[in-house]
Subunit: 456 residues, 2 copies
């Protein structure tokens, strides 16, 4: 056991936090073209850090934001782990709801607040800090590692897919460690063995060729916003059941034993609802909240664009409107097929007088990780050593498309072990990351790699 | 007959156009707070013009944008006309669809293009030019006139209502002349004897207290955009029939003779549709397009705000969403009652997990003008003199709330005589106003006032 590395990590805790803050200050929002320069800066910052601790590094430029690669392969027959994370972050709007500036990391109540703190820069930096702690104290790592850190996780870009497709040999490994998930609750570590996939679409509606006055044309002019509302209302009933024909055909729930485990988890639906600040949990009747978020497909509208949105009233019938709509899908559902069913349903719902186009923005398949993997077992023991209790084996409602890619392209199972918390405000104002979990994540990662070595 | 005034108007045509352009250069957008200074400038510009031609003028400041008053009351027993128009304009978005800048008036194909050209600065300036033509050539007017030009027609402000309520005696008149309507078609003047009213609302939906990640919360989190779509879809069927209980109870169609007249008008529904650039006319089955826009109530969504609207995809479940929704109402419907029915229907449609609030932004009752009024007859003759054909007696789908106020508060019927054209792009990019109609409008106004004098 690398006790010296664990001690090093403990005594360098503040400096690791400082390194994280440096990365958090770079507004690397991958979906917004005006942040292209920041994406480059973030990639270079991360690469320099990895080079500084002794890894061989490389930036891979593609048709999008760069990939950061780094490797240390000096441990002979020991297993090789492919380490995945992302340095890009979500947009920050609505900016006025942030208590402190999203790219000025601020410490409050034992957390660091910043866009990307938990998703995913904080998690990436646990991997970097674990590698540094081992290399600085023992001069070597217990296993071989290959970092593969992308800048398009939030944007659905394809640089990493293209790289994996073209350079599978360069990133040959025995398993992947994906640092982009959450703990079940404070003090309760989790290993995620299932992830929902995602099918993200945009629906464009056109009525007249130009905006019209609702007084003069109201009654005969097709209204794209009314049409869009009609279409959206036809996709899902008010209780959360998706009304796209065939949508549920391939959905298969986990085994009853798994569902029993989930029911035994310390999960308080009322508290969950209160944390959301909503007057009620919604969703498909007959399923628990965990089942609805972990094992059931869903459909949500993320944004609608159209018409006059300033203050006051403008009596316009807009020429166009559009909506961003995504579906979370579960194992056995197929993203392409679901997109086809969705498109057909949308087109079936089109009212008279408007033309509708449906685009696929990006998609990723759902993934299951086999619970009997040796890597998973080593990770479970490392987590128990660090947190004093075994992890819970959960699913997650979120999508990490790369996990599907690793499985399909490279045959790798992914160990999904992360340090976020359910209330970290991912993709929302006031994103945060627990500094204590940051340290424990470094500790658990060192122990995980040690256990993989010992298992040889 | 004031032939000298008509000649003066003809020979000052270019200068009148120049005066109009000066007013059009002021971006007097009443709904946007950042244009408050421009509102003041536009009011002062108009007041100075009216003072310059010899009227007694006044600016009335209130809790909003100023009213421009001007009067000439030296013609003893002759009738007094209250002249109404507005100097405020609609917002200009989407700006990128304007061929030339909205506040840089540009002459193309015999039209002046600018925001407010037709609605309503061009029409206001016909009144000003008619008064100038008479005063400069004859030293007097054939009738008494009182200008009442407001700056809140597009914003639903209440400065003019407050003024009319408090100063009814100051603006005592025998009828109103409202310069804010259109001709039926090029060469075919119209007198409008019916106007739809308007009930403009905003519906606010709240789900969680903060934005949520659709992966982690999708399936249990209430989604305000889905909820809003469900609500909107429940207000109107895809064919245009409003599904608010009781909504049509007080609707009364015009007499069959009036409908017969409308059916005889040279109105080509196919051409109307082509001009709109839509693939079909929509609306209530069983009514002609003119009936649907002139005599039937409607409901349209003008704008939806909520969620992520940038490029690319953000997997957010927004905390809030809102929609601007208005209804055009017809004579015998009551705006307050319709708002109550609307609100009740919206609240009945609220799905689980969201809270909904409905605001009334502004409203105006529908109005009918009696077709046997002497003022209407004088106007019809003046129009026939100018255009070589009698006007058609139409309704309009648009709302002019002040016409209802004049009727209710002052007992005045309004002569709705205007120089716009159906394709003037009111409230839309590339608004225009025909320069020939501008001149004919001045000519017809001089003749109208002359005929009112002669009728004494």
């Amino acid at each position: 056991m690398s006790t010296s590395a664990l001690r090093y990590a403990e005594s360098n805790r503040d400096r690791f936090l400082h390194d994280l803050e440096t990365l958090l200050r770079i507004p690397s929002i991958s979906t917004l073209p005006e942040h292209k320069g920041d994406m480059e800066r973030a990639a270079v910052c991360l690469r320099e850090r990895l080079a500084h601790i002794g890894l061989r590094t490389e930036l891979v430029e593609g048709d999008g934001h760069p990939l950061v690669l780094a490797e240390w392969l000096e441990t002979g027959d020991a297993p090789t782990l492919l380490l995945y994370g992302h340095y890009d972050v979500q947009p920050v709007d609505p900016l006025d709801l942030w208590e402190t500036a999203p790219f000025e990391p601020t410490i409050r109540n034992g957390n660091v607040y910043a866009r990307g703190a938990s998703d995913d820069k904080g998690q990436v930096m646990t991997l970097v800090a674990a590698a540094e702690s081992l290399l600085k104290t023992e001069g070597r790592l217990p296993i071989n590692i290959k970092f593969l850190i992308e800048g398009e996780e939030e944007a659905g870009g394809n640089v990493i897919d293209a790289y994996v497709a073209g350079h599978g040999g360069d990133i040959k490994a025995d398993a992947a460690q994906v640092a982009d998930t959450s703990m079940f609750a404070p003090g309760i570590p989790a290993l995620e063995t299932g992830l929902r996939g995602n099918v993200y679409t945009e629906v464009f509606v056109r009525g007249a060729s130009h905006d019209l006055h609702s007084g003069l044309y109201g009654g005969v002019a097709p209204n794209p916003l009314n049409a869009l509302s009609h279409i959206i209302a036809g996709l899902k009933d008010p209780y959360g059941v998706i009304t796209i024909p065939g949508f549920y055909d391939d959905v298969c729930m986990p085994e009853e034993a798994v569902l029993d485990d989930w029911r035994s988890l310390p999960f308080d639906e009322r508290q969950f609802q209160r944390d959301m600040g909503a007057s009620a949990l919604v969703g498909e009747p007959g399923y628990t909240a965990l089942e609805r978020t972990w094992a059931r497909p869903t459909l949500d509208v993320h944004g609608i664009v159209g018409g006059f949105t300033g203050s006051g009233g403008k009596t316009v019938i807009p020429a166009t409107a559009s909506a961003k709509i995504s579906m979370r899908i579960v194992p056995r559902q197929n993203a392409s097929h679901i997109f086809e069913l969705f498109t057909q349903r949308v087109l079936d719902l089109v009212p008279p007088g408007v033309d509708v186009k449906v685009d696929l923005l990006h998609s990723g398949e759902a993934v299951s990780v086999p619970p009997d993997s040796n890597f998973l077992k080593a990770a479970a023991l490392a987590l128990e050593d660090t947190f004093g209790r075994p992890p819970v084996l959960t699913h997650s409602g979120g999508s990490i498309p790369i996990v599907g890619t690793f499985k399909d392209r490279l045959g790798l199972d992914s160990i999904l072990m992360g340090w976020g918390l359910p209330d970290d405000n991912l993709h929302a104002p006031n994103e945060k990351f627990s500094i204590d979990n940051f340290s424990k994540g470094i500790n658990a990662t060192i122990r995980f790699w040690d256990r993989l070595s010992a298992a040889q």
